[in-house]
């Protein structure tokens, strides 16, 4: 690949060891601007662990992560959010007692400046920023046609809408890299097709890169520019969807070895 190209994410020899078990080992990935990148692999391959390393839920035991060319060593989950990483979770993690709009507005917190003093006395900056934040939240919600549910409690949304709200909330942090952990899990084919369309739309409208974990192959093959396959914490293949589909090592990892004779 062209070395002068700007990368949103560069992982070099990334790895983590849990008590002697190398959950992820020698993970190398380069994600360019506006790229949709797929991370696939059988269950337990270490895909979510990679996400947790990227967002510093776990501290890597080896290797480095660069975000927009800046080394993320010493950063925390919170500060990485400011640096431009946003994520969703495999098991949905919403703020279930807050409303849909509030869920999105929480994610805008770091861009809001008014102090506790200003909100207690309801000074002008409070009203100005709250109004702007709500307008922005409704605008973001409209990507998934959810603006009408803005004042509904998040936990009362149907499953698919909860997944979409999680993505909206992640977008509200203004990321340059969006990590989606099985966004299509539990969705029917029609919903998956719509999601695929929306992921492309997000990439184009927001100009961000997306790294996604997914088991739904129609989605992965249909939308990803490049794919990395993990098995037992090791990268076993990397390439375009067409290359991955025909790679014998990948087929073996998913389906097992064919009989020799």
């Amino acid at each position: 690949m062209d070395d002068n190209k700007k990368y949103v994410l560069e992982c070099e020899n990334l790895g983590i060891v849990f008590g002697g078990l190398a959950a992820v080992n020698d993970f190398n990935v380069k994600i360019g601007e506006k790229q949709v990148y797929g991370l696939i692999g059988p269950n337990g391959a270490g895909k979510t662990t990679v996400f947790n390393l990227l967002t510093k839920v776990y501290e890597p035991t080896s290797g480095s992560i660069k975000l927009n060319g800046v080394d993320t060593k010493g950063q925390t989950t919170v500060s990485l959010s400011k640096m431009g990483i946003a994520r969703t979770f495999q098991n949905i993690r919403l703020f279930s007692n807050l409303t849909v709009a509030e869920n999105v507005m929480v994610a805008m917190n770091q861009n809001m400046k008014y102090s506790l003093f200003e909100s207690t006395f309801r000074l002008p900056r409070y009203w100005k920023e709250e109004k702007a934040a709500r307008a922005k939240a409704l605008e973001l919600l409209s990507i998934f046609d959810m603006q009408d549910f803005a004042d509904v409690k998040a936990s009362s949304l149907p499953y698919g809408a909860q997944r979409r709200l999680e993505i909206t909330r992640a977008l509200a942090t203004n990321p340059s890299l969006l990590l989606l952990d099985e966004p299509a899990a539990g969705m029917n084919p029609a919903e998956t097709a719509e999601l695929m369309h929306n992921i492309g739309k997000i990439r184009d409208e927001f100009g961000i890169s997306i790294l996604l974990i997914e088991h739904d192959m129609s989605l992965v093959m249909g939308i990803c520019d490049e794919i990395t396959v993990l098995n037992f914490g090791m990268v076993i293949a990397q390439g375009t969807p067409a290359e991955i589909q025909s790679n014998p090592v990948v087929i073996e990892a998913y389906l097992g070895k064919q009989k020799e004779d």
């Binding site: 989950t77 946003a86 979770f89 993690r93 703020f95 807050l98 509030e102 869920n103 809001m112």
Partner: protein, 360 residues
């Protein structure tokens, strides 16, 4: 969204709470001035206000932040002593206006509560769940014992402080012994009034509701609902938790000053684990995160032991039975549904999803 008819649930809940408090105050104030209130009831008005402030401020920690604190009486104690010291010294220095002394005292109490809340919060808020409850309990007991061993005098040369003995003033005739160790502060002029209590309750409610609809409040509630997700969207957990804890401790400190200046004597043994648990009972009974519930529970459970005084020895037994019965009834979905149905029939026929936000 632009139209005001669509008030959010939070706005509805806060307006209802303000309305209930104001109406209740107006009724009680009218009864009190017309002299149709027994002296026992009149004497309870200020403590009720103080306990309401305690309950809603603890609800901020338990219901909004989602952490169990068993040390709320400690902050009340710190505020009560700091505020009363300020009030007594102002009196010693000839500040005539009782209203001014009370206001300054409450502010001093709130600041003292905030400082101690902040300092205790630094180590304590790194813990979760039961551990946090135990450590806050321990800190409240430490505060109690520390104050029991304090001696503070005031004379023309200023304050004299000792943790050993109280004979550190040079001039016993003109000196004012403020804190006398285990005997606490004696000879307090009862300057707390029902009106002051009402104003404090309203101020605290406004602060809490404004907090809940600010970015800080949302951040704290997001931590309560899902800590990992909150971190992933850039919410610094500790910063928001300590802000909330400090705010809550400041309110408890203010409540302490109001409470203390309703009696002639203030001893730190009053602010023990029993008081902390009592306030927690208000919160749990009223519903976590439900401010109006806390207010009603605090009022009812402060009056109840007095009403039951006629049962003499069986008083606390009946008190406990009523408490258990209320908890059972409020957690029984069938009874709740029947009650909701009754409300819909009696009042406006509103949609079933109109009920209050609290969940016990």
């Amino acid at each position: 969204m632009k139209k005001m008819k669509n008030l959010t649930k939070a706005q509805k809940s806060s307006s209802l709470t303000y309305a209930v408090v104001i109406v209740a105050f107006a009724i009680m104030f009218a009864l009190k001035t017309s002299g149709s209130l027994s002296s026992k009831m009149t004497g309870m008005l200020v403590p009720i206000c103080a306990y309401i402030v305690m309950a809603v401020s603890l609800n901020l920690v338990v219901g909004i932040m989602g952490d169990l604190s068993l040390g709320h009486a400690g902050f009340m104690s710190v505020g009560a002593f700091a505020g009363t010291i300020a009030i007594v010294s102002m009196q010693y220095n000839g500040v005539e206006s009782a209203g001014l002394r009370l206001v300054v005292g409450i502010i001093v109490g709130a600041i003292a509560g905030a400082i101690i809340g902040f300092l205790i919060g630094i180590p304590v808020l790194r813990l979760n769940g039961d551990y946090l409850a135990i450590v806050t309990l321990a800190f409240a007991e430490i505060i109690k014992v520390l104050i029991q061993n304090m001696y503070l005098d005031l004379d023309e040369n200023g304050f004299h402080f000792s943790m050993v003995e109280n004979t550190n003033t040079t001039n016993l005739e003109t000196a004012r012994l403020i804190i006398e160790g285990p005997m606490g502060i004696r000879g307090i002029t009862k300057i707390s009034t029902f009106v002051a209590g009402f104003i404090l309750v309203m101020v605290v409610l406004i602060v809490i509701f404004h907090f809940m609809s600010s970015r800080t409040g949302r951040a704290v509630m997001s931590i309560r609902d899902n800590r990992i997700a909150a971190e992933s969207v850039g919410i610094p957990i500790f910063k928001y938790k300590i802000t909330t804890f400090t705010l809550s401790a400041a309110m408890a400190g203010a409540a302490g000053v109001l409470f203390a200046n309703n009696y002639s004597t203030l001893i730190s043994a009053k602010f023990n684990i029993d008081t902390s648990i009592l306030v927690l009972v208000f919160v749990v009974l009223g519903g976590q995160g439900n401010m109006l519930g806390s207010i009603i529970a605090a009022t009812a459970l402060t009056i109840l032991p007095e009403i039951l005084r006629g049962f003499s020895d069986y008083r606390m037994l009946i008190y406990a039975i009523i408490l258990i019965a209320v908890m059972l009834i409020s957690n029984n979905s069938q009874l709740k549904a029947a009650f909701d149905g009754l409300l819909i029939k009696l009042k406006l026929k509103k949609a079933p999803d109109e009920e209050e936000g609290g969940k016990a």
